[in-house]
C-alpha cells in the first residue's frame, strides 16, 4: 500500500470526520474531529491492520488556543506512519477515550490525564498512573504554565490496588526497593495458594520529569537528556532523537556515520541481551552458565572501550552524524574480538540449551499469548517470542539497516524459553551485522552541519532498541529549542504484557519471567 492509496481510502470512508489531510514522506497526517476519532482508530486497527504506537497530548493554548492530542499508528508491512490529531477545548478539558476499542491506548490516556489534566471520557479505569499518593490534585506538569522547578506540597493519599476476594486469596506486596540490584517498582500479587491470580505493577518511582525538563532546552542539551532516558538503551534513544532532528532539518547523514551507528546500536543490543541471558541463568540458579555469559558480556564492554572509551556508548552520536571516526584503524582487532565472542557464545549456548534442568524451568513458564501481545502492542523480543514478526529495522529501515543482510528471529510459544531463543538468535545476528558493517563500511565524512531549524516543525524518530520499538516525537520551538519531546520506549508497552504473562505462574518464577523481558523502569517512568 502506498501513502496516497491510504489517504484516498481514509478520506472516502470518513469524509464527515476528516478536517484536513496531508501526506509527507511515508507519513500521513489527518486532522480529525473528536466525535469520529473512536471510529477511525478502531477501523485503522481492524481494517487497515495498523497498530497504535504512541498517543500523547500537547499544550498549544498559547498559539492556537487549544490542546492537541496525537494518535500515531504504524502500518508495519508497508512501513507507513499515520498520525491523527484531535483538538481539545481547554474550557471543557475532555476527550473521548478509545481504550474500549484499542486496549493499548489505556495507559497513554491515563498518562495524559495525569500530566495534562485532560479527562478521557469513557475510560474503563481512570486510576492515577504517573503520580502516587504524595502528589496533590491539580498538579499538571506538562501544561506550559506549570513552572519546571515548582515543587508542589506533599499530599498523603493512599494508593488503591485492584483486589481479588475469595476464600484463601491473599496478597504479596513487593518493592519498590527490591532484593536484587535493580530499579524500583512496586508489585502487588494476588494469589490463591502458589499460582498468581493477578499482578498489578505500580511504576513511576523513577519519574524524573524528562518531558517537562526538555521543554525549551536547546537541541544540544536535549540530546544529552535523550541519552539518559534509560542507561542501557543510551545509544538507540539518542539515535531516535537524532533521527527526528535530522528529519526536521532535512539533512542526509553521511554513509560512514550511518554504518557506524549500526555498529553501536548492535553492540548495545548484544550487551543488553547477554545481560538478560545471564540473568535468566542466574534466576534458575545455573551459576556456571550465568558467569560464563557475564564473562562474554565483559568482552562486549571491551569492544565498547576499544571503540569509544564509554561502556554505555554515551557521547558517541550527535545530530547530523557521529562525534569522531571511532572505527578507523581498529577494524582488525574489533573483528577478532567479535569472532572470539561468537565462538564462546556458541559453546556456552550449546551447553545451556542441552541442560534439561534449565529447559524444565523455562519451557511453558510465563506464556504471553499472541492475542494479548497484539492487543497491547508488545514489541521487541517480548513480541517476537509471541509470534509478532515486527522489527523497526525491517519495517522502517533507518541508519544503514536497509543495505545490510540480517534476519528477524521469531518464535511462537510466548514462554521464557521462546524469549531466550529469540535473544540468543539476535545476539548472533548482531555479531554478524557488526562484522558486516566493519567490513563494508564506506570511507568519507562522518558528520553534516545541522544548520538552523525552523520553529514549530515536528518529526517522529523510530528505532529498535534492545527491548523493542522506540518512538520519539519532537516539535521544535524558536531559536533551536525543543517545544515538545515525547518519548515512548518499548518498556511502556511491554510492562502490561508482563503482568499478563505471569498469571497462573508461581511467585518464584516471577523473577525469571521478569528477567526474560528485562524491561526498563527508567525508560517507562521518564
Amino acid at each position: 500500500m502506498r501513502i496516497q492509496d491510504l489517504q484516498g481510502k481514509m478520506e472516502e470512508q470518513f469524509r464527515n470526520h476528516i478536517i484536513g489531510s496531508s501526506p509527507l514522506r511515508n507519513e500521513l497526517y489527518l486532522e480529525v474531529d473528536s466525535s469520529g476519532i473512536k471510529e477511525i482508530c478502531s477501523s485503522l486497527e481492524s481494517e487497515f491492520g495498523c497498530s497504535l504506537i504512541s498517543l500523547f497530548a500537547m499544550d498549544e493554548r498559547e498559539n492556537k488556543g487549544h490542546f492537541t492530542i496525537y494518535y500515531a499508528f504504524a502500518e508495519r508491512s508497508a512501513g507507513l506512519l499515520i498520525v491523527l490529531t484531535v483538538t481539545v477545548d481547554p474550557s471543557q478539558g475532555i476527550f473521548p477515550s478509545i481504550s474500549t476499542k484499542i486496549p493499548a491506548a489505556a495507559l497513554y490516556e491515563r498518562e495524559i490525564q495525569d500530566l495534562f489534566g485532560l479527562h478521557p471520557l469513557g475510560h474503563p479505569g481512570g486510576k492515577r498512573l504517573v503520580f502516587h499518593g504524595n502528589w496533590p490534585e491539580n498538579c499538571r506538569p506538562l501544561r506550559r504554565d506549570f513552572p519546571l522547578s515548582s515543587r508542589p506540597a506533599f499530599a498523603d493519599e493512599k494508593m488503591e490496588f485492584s483486589t481479588i476476594n475469595g476464600e484463601g486469596v491473599f496478597e504479596i506486596p513487593v518493592g519498590p526497593v527490591h532484593a536484587g540490584i535493580i530499579e524500583p517498582g512496586h508489585f502487588r500479587f494476588s494469589l490463591a495458594g502458589e499460582p498468581i491470580l493477578n499482578l498489578e505493577a505500580q511504576l513511576y518511582f523513577v519519574h524524573r520529569g524528562i518531558e517537562k525538563l526538555s521543554e525549551g532546552k536547546s537541541i544540544e542539551k536535549g540530546f544529552y537528556i535523550s541519552e539518559r532516558i534509560s542507561g542501557d538503551e543510551t545509544f538507540t534513544n539518542s539515535l531516535a532523537y537524532c533521527q527526528s532532528i535530522e528529519k526536521i532539518a532535512g539533512i542526509k547523514v553521511p554513509d560512514r556515520a550511518e554504518y557506524t551507528r549500526v555498529l553501536f546500536a548492535e553492540l548495545e543490543r548484544l550487551t543488553s541481551h547477554l545481560g538478560d541471558l545471564a540473568g535468566v541463568c542466574l534466576d534458575v540458579a545455573y551459576g556456571f552458565a550465568a558467569y560464563q555469559i557475564r564473562m562474554i558480556r565483559g568482552w562486549s564492554y571491551r569492544v565498547a572501550d576499544e571503540l569509544c572509551g564509554m561502556r554505555f556508548l554515551r557521547s558517541v552520536n550527535k545530530p547530523g552524524g557521529i562525534r569522531r571516526d571511532f572505527v578507523a584503524g581498529k577494524e582488525e582487532s574489533l573483528i577478532a574480538l567479535l569472532k572470539e565472542i561468537k565462538k564462546e557464545l556458541e559453546d556456552t549456548v550449546d551447553i545451556v540449551m542441552h541442560n534439561s534442568q534449565f529447559i524444565d524451568r523455562v519451557e511453558n513458564t510465563g506464556i504471553l499469548s499472541n492475542r494479548i501481545a497484539v492487543d497491547l502492542n508488545a514489541s521487541g523480543p517480548g513480541g517476537r517470542a509471541s509470534g509478532i514478526p515486527y522489527d523497526v529495522r525491517k519495517s522502517f529501515p533507518y541508519a544503514a539497516y536497509g543495505s545490510l543482510d540480517f534476519q528477524v528471529p521469531v518464535q511462537n510459544d510466548g514462554d521464557v524459553s521462546s524469549r531466550v531463543k529469540v535473544k540468543v538468535a539476535e545476539c548472533f545476528q548482531s555479531i554478524s551485522l557488526m562484522i558486516q558493517v566493519i567490513e563494508t563500511m564506506p570511507t568519507g565524512e562522518i558528520k553534516t552541519e545541522l544548520g538552523m531549524l525552523a520553529p514549530y516543525q515536528f518529526a517522529f524518530g523510530l528505532t529498535e532498541s534492545p527491548r523493542g520499538e522506540n518512538v520519539h516525537f519532537i516539535m521544535t520551538g524558536e531559536n533551536q529549542t525543543l517545544l515538545r519531546y515525547k518519548v515512548r520506549t518499548p518498556s511502556f508497552c511491554n510492562w502490561p504484557a508482563l503482568c499478563h504473562a505471569v498469571k497462573g505462574n508461581i511467585v518464584p518464577d516471577f523473577p525469571l519471567i521478569n528477567k526474560s523481558f528485562n524491561l526498563s523502569y527508567a525508560g517507562n517512568d521518564l
Binding site: A179, E183, V206, R208
Partner: protein, 239 residues
Amino acid sequence: MFKVLKKIFQYPRVTQGYPKNPIDSSLFIGKPVIVETNCTKCGVCIDRCPSAAISYDSDSGIPVINLNDCIFCTLCEEVCPTGAATMTTEFELAYEELGKRVEKKIKKIFGRSLHIREVDAGSCNGCDYEINALNNPFNDIERFGIHFVASPRHADMLLVTGTGTRNMELALLKTYEATPDPKLVVAVGACACSGGIFRDTYATRDGIGSLVPVDVWIPGCPPRPQAILHGILKAIEKK
C-alpha cells in the same frame, strides 16, 4: 559435563587484580580538566555544558569543573577553541565528605566484611548496571568480603544511585531508617551527587544529599565498576 569442565579449565580465573594491581586505563574516558595555561576564559564551555557543571572560579577567573555535576559528556573538550579542556583517563574520583573522619572506628569494625544494600532512587539504570558489574567475574567484589544483601536490615552500607525522585523519597528514607547503626551511605553517580542533568525539576531533588547523610561521593555518569569499587573501599578505608 565434559564441556562444562573444559570451560572451567579454559578460563580458570578472569578476575582482574584491581586495586592491588593497577588497571590499564588508557582507553577510559575519565575526569575532564581545564588546563589553566591554555585557557582564554572565553566561556564557551560554561555556556554549552549540558549539566551546568562549569563556572568561573571566583579567585582566578579560570573556568573550573564541578565533578559532582559533571556528566562526562566530553562536550567541553569538543567545543574548547584552544584545547584547554581535555578529558583525562583518571577514573578513581571518589571523595569523602569533609569532617567525617571521626567515624574511623566504625570503618575499622566494617573492615572485615561489609554488607551492602543498593537503592535506586531515580537513576537512568546506568549506575545500577555498573554496580551489578561488581559481581561479574572480572571484578568479583566478594573477594574483599563485600556482599550485596537483599534487605536493608542486613546492611552496613547503602549504595544509592539516582537524583532522589519525589516518588522514591519515602522509600529511601524508610530504607535508611531500616538500616541498623552504624551505617555508611555512598552516593553513586552524577545524579546522586548533585542531580546531574535532572537537577531542579518538579519530580527530582538535587541529589540524595538533602535526604540522607552521605559519607562518600562517587562522581561519574555512570562511574566505572572500578571507580565504584574504589569508592566503597575508600568508605571503609580498606586498602
